[in-house]
Amino acid sequence: MTDTAAPHLFSREEGLFLPAFQAWIDPPAPAPRAILSHGHADHAAAGHGEIWASPETLSIYRIRHPEWRGTARALAWEENVAGEGVGLALHRAGHILGAAQIRVEGPEGSTLYTGDFRRSESRTTRPAAAPRADVLVMESTFGLPVFRFPPRSESEARLVAECRRAGEEGAVAIVLAYALGKSQDAVLALTEAGIPTVLHGAAWKILPAYEEAGFSFPLSRPYASGPAQAGEVLVVPPNCIRTPVVRKIRKRRILYLSGWAMREASRAEFDADVLLPISDHADFDELLAHVSDVAPAGIRTHHGYARDLARILSRGGRKAEPLSEGGERAREDAEDTDMPAPKRDGGQEAEPEP
């Protein structure tokens, strides 16, 4: 089954395909040639033959898949790659270190595939670029108007204040954040405030990729070097909440950093004392702003509230519909559509490894 998703982009059972480059975008299964938007595991599967990606994404991929022996092709931002009359270029996507949007342009027109993206900046990312395109294939993780996040700086200030307060009360602040992206950003905010951090192995092992990109983590140490002491902040993925890593800390204050923290229900799901809606995804307003800046003639939404966002955009006079594709369905199924919190936000982490 093949469906033309957008100019030069096809939707097939196995995922999104660019015929002009004989390449798959973020394929969930090993592919001869994959173009990876970023390093989260649900976009960067193991075992590809050839990988095209930003240098940062390649570094992350190599750390996470040390066994990989394929061919890497690093693409600089906006560097044009030509193939059968079609041009391809990566544009910044915000989201996490190295995350890219993929733009193709040819005789049929132009397509911008956003991958996961964020338009506001963070400590480790610049805002997503918004190159014009005829068709915008856009993620819609937070495609409902209830998902409007407060400014990141405000949430980071709360993060620092709450962690400091926990320390003063002799408690260990536990920050629940995805291991790749969110954790490093949180650690940098805490480091700037002079607060030492203890990192879960999954977040710790990625640090070299960040150091390569010019970031440093002078106040951090790995969990393997010993449990967190009062005054230190423990940074672990959310799925650690039921493990001894968290449970054996008697005096603790739990902070949940996620877009899903907009839901009061996540307080119970994660035993969280503090809910901080910090996300690496575009919120609802950013999704609309992206549509407005890219100014596409058509929009295909995918991930999360794809159908809802497409309906909302259509009512606003845009031509929008959800993207259906085999690979997409497989991924949505694997995702926790009922209790989205622990997974969707790049919840790619394997079992916690203290």
Binding site: V146, E264, R267
Partner: protein
């Protein structure tokens, strides 16, 4: 006059902490500054309803009215409102998030919402019948609300503030706010059935002046279960033994010619049981009895399944009244005349109950005593032979602890033999387990097919439910609205109270009060119990036995 905003802030700060003490402090801080004229309404709103319990009034605002109102005020279409409520998991939170803040609104905001306004408008809802009238009121409230206020207005309308503060927490907050004794606050609230009046009396130091008021639902004293036979020996010190009846627990209020029956859910069920009301009305005096509504046949209690046909019918047909008569079996007396007896011992209350029973009009639960475990076992058997569920063991010197589950009362019902079943469908739970796949439909084996026999909600730990949730998502084979059909792989052991023939499930049987005992990860679906085995247990129940076989 105080702004509703202050109550909403108090509730929000109570919601944002897991510490009970901090919740109490937030609620107390919200109550303290209220003026006398608005304190009662404020306290009731903090408890989630504009009405006192004795008023027995409901706002009856359904999702259709609520979502239409929200659509009209926020400008979002109904589908987006619905999707948002599902995504956030709470209509109040979602609508609060969708409401543009004051600065974003084009129309000028009218005067800020005062506690009195919210109280009046919510009360008005109970007086309106037409959906359009209700919608107009809800829209007016939302139009005048900030996002934070809307959050709690909508939560109040949709029947749950969900801030983790039960009535006991509000009672504690009242005590803290006005320097009153917690027990006195609880007693006053129990007696007058109005958390608002209680708050005002607490501030005025007049809690002791609150007298018992009839005709409002009072909490039931609950028994804790005896789970294993070893406990029986130690519980012999509990003095008296009664049969545990298989019916509907109810409080019967009677004064003059008026009678009201309140169920465990604190609903007025009087109209469902006219013959009981009529009989009690003929008993002289004013009183409040605790007892059981049972189906009655000749001279004994009839099965719960027959009683079920009488439930939920506001005005039962004459034919049904004749076919399934019911009776009220009283086992406690909480008020006689103007005297509340809650604080008196069981023995004293029993004395009053027997005195009232002399006039007829209701049945009296028989009291037994057991000298040793063997005697108790024999009482259990005869209770089962009389068609009752098991035994109640009560302490003679215990007061009536309204709304509390304690060890002064114990219940003993042996479970039937358990069944190993396989899960065939799952859906999300409610309340504390919202968002978790915690409700399981399960089946027994019929040859090489699986036929459903019941559905259970509890019994596993949150951790187990979470772990299974991940597995169920992997083995989902179809989706029907909120229900996921799953491949029959996960085996669980269920206990139940009894078994009945039923057309609801494919197996032709239904389990009463099924609960999950444990996960049987050691078992495969091919090894679970069969319909034949279910039939066997059913037959043993018909024989009046305990079903303890196999």
């Amino acid at each position: 006059m105080s702004a509703y905003r202050e109550l909403a802030r108090g509730l929000d700060s109570a919601a944002s902490t897991r510490s009970r003490l901090a919740k109490v402090a937030s609620l107390a801080a919200a109550l303290r500054p209220l003026e006398d004229s608005e304190l009662a309404a404020g306290a009731r709103l903090l408890s989630g309803s504009p009405f006192a319990e004795w008023e027995q009034a409901v706002m009856s605002v359904g999702w259709a009215t609520l979502s239409k109102s929200a659509a009209s005020i926020t400008g979002w279409d109904i589908e987006t409102i619905g999707a948002s409520a599902r995504a956030i998991g709470d209509a109040g939170e979602a609508i609060g998030l969708l409401l543009p803040s004051a600065v974003e609104r084009s129309e000028p905001v009218t005067s800020p919402l005062e506690i009195r306004d919210v109280d009046e408008r919510l009360r008005e809802l109970a007086t309106k019948r037409r959906a359009a009238d209700k919608q107009a009121i809800v829209e007016d409230l939302l139009r005048r609300s900030s996002p934070l206020e809307a959050r709690y207005v909508v939560k109040t309308l949709s029947g749950g503030l969900r801030v983790g503060a039960e009535l006991a927490t509000i009672e504690e907050a009242i005590a803290e706010a006005f320097g009153a004794d917690r027990e006195s606050v609880a007693r006053a609230h129990r007696d007058c059935g109005d958390i608002g009046e209680t708050a005002l009396a607490a501030r005025r130091g007049s809690l002791d002046a609150i007298r018992f008021r009839m005709f409002h639902p009072v909490g039931f004293m609950l028994a804790s279960p005896i789970d294993n036979p070893e406990e029986i020996e130690s519980e012999l010190s509990l003095d008296v033994v009664e049969d545990k009846f298989d019916g509907i627990r109810a409080h019967a209020h009677k004064s003059g010619s008026r009678v009201a029956l309140f169920s465990r859910t604190l609903d007025d069920v009087t109209a469902q049981f006219p013959e009981i009301a009529l009989a009690l009305a003929a008993v002289p005096g004013q009183f409040l009895l605790d007892g059981e509504i049972v189906a009655w046949k000749e001279d004994r209690v009839d099965s719960f399944f027959r009683l079920q046909r009488r439930l939920g019918r506001k005005a039962p047909a004459v034919e049904l009244l004749a076919e399934i008569p019911v009776a009220f079996i009283a086992y406690d007396c909480l008020v006689t005349g103007d005297t509340p007896l809650f604080e008196r011992s069981w023995s004293e209350r029993r004395g009053e109950l027997e005195r009232l029973a002399a006039a007829g009009g209701f049945r009296l639960s028989a009291v037994h005593r057991a000298a040793d475990a063997a005697a108790l076992e024999s009482l259990f058997r005869s209770a089962r032979e009389r068609g009752n569920e098991g035994l109640m063991l009560k302490r003679e010197d215990s007061p009536y602890l309204a709304g509390k589950r304690g060890r002064a009362w114990r219940k003993w019902k042996k479970a039937l033999a358990t069944l190993d079943v396989v899960v065939t469908a799952v859906e999300q739970g409610n309340g504390k387990r919202a968002g978790m796949l915690s409700d399981y439909t399960f089946a027994v084996r019929d040859g090489d097919r699986f036929v459903n026999i019941g559905k259970a909600y509890t019994g596993l730990t949150d951790e187990e439910i979470r772990r299974l949730g991940a597995r169920f998502r992997k083995i989902t084979v179809g989706r029907y609205g909120p229900v996921r059909a799953v491949s029959p792989e996960v085996v669980i052991e269920v206990a139940f109270d009894t078994i009945q023939k039923s057309r609801r499930h494919k197996s032709g049987f239904a389990l009463r009060f099924p609960r999950i005992v444990r996960l049987r990860e050691d078992k495969k679906a091919a090894e679970i119990d069969t319909v034949g085995r279910v039939e066997e247990i059913w037959e043993s129940v018909q024989g009046g036995g305990t079903g303890k076989i196999g």
